[in-house]
Structures are given as structure tokens and as C-alpha cells.
Subunit: 400 residues, 2 copies
């Protein structure tokens, strides 16, 4: 297996550190628009890793880099603006493709808060026949959420439930950053995108529909000492992926943002600073959202000052295989202290990065295989969960 | 009188429209970094007005422009970053000087929320001897607040009170902008500056000291139908000016920001978007605060969509000239509908702009005169209040 990793930011760099301990691949080319960043990501990890530059917005550039290095699998670890050129670039080069976020949505032009417009991943699913005909695999949304959360949903359907009333992905943390009043632990660009878009919900008989941002607040109790966190509906790929392969009456995603973060996001939106369309500032064109990202500390650099744990998981409610009412929360917790000590990467990016590396290893060994445009829930969950535990990062389950 | 007006933004353009109806001056050169804006400001107002360009950050450029047009009075109507070059440029050219905001403060390096550092206007007062020796006048803070609010303070001390316990400048409005959830009616650059700096308070025996931002919230009842508005302490020139010339036990400034605006300002601060130091965004340097201003609609262009009234005034509590307890609110209200109909300028910028024009007319007629660096409360208040009424914009007083 010859991997091209596009993006040497927080998640990409953590993926390098995780993959460096595994023997399933022959080479990994780590490409970024900033060569120095790629060089730093591969430094000290051995000669299977090669740094390169790439313009991730150019299909042709991605294809050319794949051909140059005879790439078999492309792992996309940049922000979701670049999904389509990387996805198309991998296809043109005859490589398989993995990502952790799907092609972007566009709100319904007249009823954004009740109906979907272009949905997350629609552009990729539109190409599914082409990928299938070519015998190639695009495994989409194989980070932590989407990713492990989807694997949990399939595992619940396969092993724990006969009938599912609701699958609710729930994400919460108790992370703090010393010395900062406000320092998001994940890409603010992506967080703005997912939190300010209309949240999407799926219901059997109704299909996908949207609500107002930050709708249906609920207090969810997270395990391993994190405790209660207020969670709200947020647009996320799981809601688009899970219903395609797993039978459930309702699928939701709620994010434990907390009041303060919600207030900041609402304020950024009021002022128009969530916009990606450039504004002219003293003769120079900049995207306000890029300025927000530039004004905040880079979350990948905050690991030394972070404390606490982050939890991703899937709450499932329905009837068990023995016909009883059952409610479980399948989850994965990473303690920042552990991920920093073991890998030198902070908890949130490490937790995201481990999953595509596990998936690549399953594809390398043949435990996972497929063609077309698939979500993680399209593939057997047990090999994934077992190998994740084998990476030293076990998952858990609470009966509720 | 030959006037150089620096800045053809909202306040500058309104000053042109107001001055155009008065005959006390010979010429007014309107200079902006953007010549088109200056041309638009003078268009249709007759041949006493001349458009020009100027780099307001350059003392030499201001001096050269003064000399070219034999300027006698410079009116500074740009944001307070440019106070010192314009102030020094006027002095070097032998012109008198007026502004509506003073040189910027810098917080105390170690105790910003309890002690003052460099105060508003300190840099200008440091030059007071030089101006006095030269026989020249710098009349500082002669907008609405500071400006008319300071005139009210002096008027209360001269005519209404024997002893003053507190002078509290209080600003509130009920303005809304059709079609916008959030659209500040005044320069966001200046609003961020004054609201996020440590608010300053003056007390007899203690002098100037600071508090946390948004401290001491109180509900103040504004006249003419505006009603109750929550006001909080904000850094403002009046607190630095009034105690120099008017005897009082305490001087404060509170701004009726409202909860929503306070939340937005707090959020901008958390994310670092209030910063003026440039950040690098995809290879380009921009000041985050300039991006905030660029992302919002220009308040000067919103007049057609605005509704409501804005009120500026000075609340005074003490013992009357007959020895009784007395509490009054001296105020000035502008209805946006009136200012748009009469002048084509929205209420907030019109209300700011009228005061320096009145002051220039008093200086032209000799009703006001002086040397050194003075605040509006250093000069007799009655001629000012009478001429303001003569401009068609009467003030009011409520006994409380």
C-alpha cells in the first residue's frame, strides 16, 4: 500500500505519528501547501515517509502527485473545501480514497431551516456509479465523527438491537487550555461550517430535514468523569451516512458545544465573520472566516496546555435482540495527557486521526474491502473495533 | 475661517451638509485617503467646498495640505488612531485644531482593571504648554460625547448646582435597522476601542481608576419615548475631561449597549478579533478589527433603513443653587427620520457632526476663544447651547 496523505495540519501530523508504528504500508507521501509543515510532520518517523507540496484545490495537482509516487490510497486530511478536487484527483489516478469529512452542503434557497438543499456528501454520492464501475473505493467519513461513530451504529444494529428507535451521535469533552480564556481544540473553520449550517435530522417516512442552528438542546451525560454537557443539533455527516446502511426510525447528531461557544458562534454569524466570501480590507481581499482562524491559536499546537478528556460516541435506543427495551452509549474517550505522552498529539486530533489509519490497515489486510462511495457503516464493524483496541485505544459501552 | 476637514466618512460627510447651510467660514477642504469619498461628500454643496486626498497617518502630509490651502482650523473626523499625526500636523502649520475623540489610551501593564495606564488624551495634554505658548487652540472632544455632554456638565455647574455629587454621561437609543439582525449605527472600530478598554471612573480624592469592562450595569430611563436601556461603564473622554474644569465628587460614563451588543463584543474579544495588530491570513497581513469593520455594513449608509431616536446626555445629582437635593438629565435627542429628511444623514453621525460645526462658528464669531489644549467644558456653555438650538436641534432637560 502506497499512501498519499493530503494535509499536514493537526490531524494529518497525528496520523503520521500513529501510522509510523504500523507496518502495513510501504510508503506515505505527506503533502501540504506549506512544505515546511509537511517536513515537520514526517521528521523523525523514518524513510517510509516523504514530504511534498500540493495545491489541494487542484484535481490535476493531486492526480500528478499520485502518479509520481504510484499511490494506491489517498487520505484527505484538509478542510472540507478541498474534498472534491482530492476525491476527483484520486479517482483520475486510479487510487482509492478516504476522507474524514464529506463534500459541503448548501442550504435550501428559500426554506433553509426546514428543508435540505444540497446535502453533505451529495456531490460524492453523485459519483458513486463511476467509482463502482471502475472497481475503486471511496471510503468517506472515516475519522472519529463521522467514522467510529458510524461503526458504532452498525455494530449496535448487527449485535445489540432488533429494532432501533433512535441513533444519536453525541460528542462532548471537558477540555480546558491553560492560559487561554477561549481556545477551540479543533479547526474553527470546520466548527463554524458544521455549527452554523442548518442541522440535519433523519426520520423514517420523512427522510432528511433541517432545523434552526443550535436546536433541541439536551443535557447528555458523558462517561469517564466528563459528566453532563449541554448538546445541540449540528449538521454532521453521520446523519447523512447512517440511514443509507442502518435501519433506524430517527438519526441525529448533537454536539456538546457549551453555552459560551454557542454564544461566540452566534456573535461571529451576526457580524458576518463566518463568511467565506472575501471582503476588501484596505485594498486586500480576505475571507472573514480565515481571519477568525488566524486570530485564534492553532489547536494542533495547544496540546501541552490542554487538560481533560474528549468523548465521541453513539447513543442507541430501541428493542434488544431479546425483545426488551434497551438503551446504550457506545463511546471512545481519549485523555489528552495520554495522547500527548504517547504520541505528542493532542486528544482531539489524535482521536480523529487514529480511525483512518485503522481503516487503511483493514484495507491493506483485506479485512475491509468494497467498491463505490461507502460510509464506515457499510463495512463490518467488529474488525474495526478490535483493531482500534489493538492500537491501544479501547472503546466502551454503557447500558442506560 | 479656512477649515480642513480630515475624514469624509459618516461624521465628516454630515459635517459638510451641516456647514453648507452656514456662512461663518470662507472655505472647507474635505480630505480623505479615498478621493472619491471626499468628492461625494462635497458634491452639491457649492464652491466653498474642495475635495482632496490626505494620508491622515502622516503629520507632514497634514501640515502640507494646511499650508497649501492656508488653513486656519483643522477638524479631525477620522478614527482616533490618527489623532496625533493630525494634531501635530495642524500645530506645525500654525492652525487651530478640533477633534471628537482624543489620543488613545494604553491599559496599565499589570493592573489594567483597577489602575489607569496611559489615559485618553494624555498625549495631547502633554503638548498643552506648547499650544498655549504658541497662542494656538486645540479644542478636544467636541463631538456629541465627548462634546455636548461636556458642555451640559459645565452648564449644570454654572447654572443649576452649588455642589455636585455625580456627573454621569448616559447614552442610549432605540434605533433599529430594517433588514439587518445586527448593524451597529456607529463606527465598530471606535465602539470596540471604547468598550473593550478598561472603563475609567473619576472620584474626588481618588482620581482616575479603572474597572472591568461592562461594569456597574444600571437601567437608565431615556426621554422622548426611548425608555429604559441597560447601560454599563465604558472608557470615554468625558471622564478625563470634565474633572479638569468642573468640580464634582464622581464622574462616570455609561453606554446603553444592550445585552446583545455586549455579548457580541465579548465574543469578538475572546476570539481576538478586536486586535489591531495584523495577523497573517494566507500570506496577507490584515488587522482583525479592520476585518470586523469590513464584514459589517457601513453605518453611514444605513440611514434609509434606520428607525428610532438616539439620545446623548448628562445626568447630574447634587445640591441646587437654593441648597435643595436636585437631580437632572440634560439631553439631546435626534430622530433618524428628521435627520434623514432634513440632511440626508443618519441620526448618530448627524448628532456627532453638528457639534464641531457649532463650535467652529463660535470660534469664528469670537463667542468662544482660548489657547492651549482645552475640553468643551473649559468654555462658556450658554453660547453653545443657544447656537445649537439655532441650528434647529434643541436640547432638553428633565428634573428627576
Amino acid at each position: 500500500m502506497r499512501i498519499l496523505l493530503v494535509g499536514a495540519g493537526g490531524v494529518g501530523s497525528a496520523a503520521v505519528a500513529i501510522a509510523a508504528r504500523r507496518s502495513f504500508f510501504e510508503t506515505m507521501v505527506v503533502a501540504d501547501h506549506d512544505l515546511d509543515r509537511a517536513v515537520r510532520a514526517v521528521a523523525g518517523h523514518g524513510d517510509r515517509f516523504v514530504a511534498a507540496t500540493v495545491d489541494a484545490s487542484s484535481t490535476e495537482a493531486v492526480t500528478a502527485l499520485c502518479r509520481e509516487h504510484r499511490i494506491t490510497h489517498v487520505l484527505n486530511a484538509v478542510d472540507p473545501r478541498f474534498v472534491m478536487p482530492i476525491f476527483d484527483g484520486a479517482f483520475a489516478a486510479g487510487a482509492d480514497y478516504l476522507d474524514m469529512a464529506m463534500s459541503l452542503s448548501r442550504p435550501h434557497p428559500s426554506r433553509p431551516w426546514s428543508e435540505t438543499g444540497v446535502k453533505l456528501g451529495d456531490e460524492q454520492f453523485a459519483a458513486a456509479d463511476r467509482w463502482e464501475t471502475a472497481g475503486r473505493l471511496a471510503l468517506c467519513g472515516i475519522g472519529i465523527e463521522p467514522g467510529l461513530s458510524d461503526v458504532f451504529a452498525r455494530y449496535a444494529a448487527d449485535e445489540l438491537f432488533d429494532e432501533i428507535d433512535e441513533i444519536g451521535v453525541r460528542d462532548g469533552a471537558n477540555l480546558t487550555v491553560d492560559g487561554y480564556d477561549f481556545a477551540p481544540s479543533f479547526s474553527i473553520w470546520t466548527t463554524i461550517e458544521e455549527c452554523l449550517n442548518p442541522p440535519v435530522i433523519w426520520e423514517a417516512g420523512r427522510g432528511w430535514f433541517t432545523t434552526e442552528p443550535f436546536s433541541e438542546p439536551e443535557v447528555f451525560h458523558f462517561p469517564e468523569g466528563i459528566g453532563p454537557v449541554e448538546c445541540v443539533n449540528v449538521e454532521h455527516e453521520e446523519v447523512l451516512l447512517i440511514p443509507r446502511w442502518v435501519e433506524a426510525k430517527r438519526v441525529t447528531f448533537k454536539y456538546g458545544l457549551g453555552d459560551e461557544f454557542i454564544e461566540v458562534l452566534k456573535s461571529l454569524h451576526k457580524v458576518g465573520l463566518d463568511a467565506t466570501t472575501p471582503v476588501t480590507v484596505r485594498g486586500v481581499q480576505v475571507s472573514p472566516r480565515d481571519v477568525v482562524a488566524a486570530a485564534l491559536p492553532d489547536p494542533a499546537t495547544l496540546g501541552d496546555r490542554m487538560r481533560g478528556k474528549t468523548c465521541a460516541g453513539t447513543w442507541v435506543r430501541g428493542r434488544s435482540t431479546s425483545g426488551e427495551p434497551r438503551e446504550v452509549y457506545l463511546y471512545h474517550v481519549v485523555d489528552n495527557e495520554w495522547s500527548m505522552r504517547e504520541y505528542g498529539h493532542q486528544a482531539v486530533v489524535w482521536q480523529t486521526a487514529v480511525n483512518p489509519v485503522v481503516a487503511l490497515e483493514l484495507l491493506a489486510t483485506g479485512a475491509w474491502s468494497g467498491t463505490g462511495v461507502l460510509g464506515p457503516e457499510a463495512l463490518p464493524p467488529k474488525p474495526f473495533l478490535d483493531l482500534l483496541t489493538g492500537y491501544g485505544s479501547p472503546w466502551g459501552m454503557e447500558e442506560r
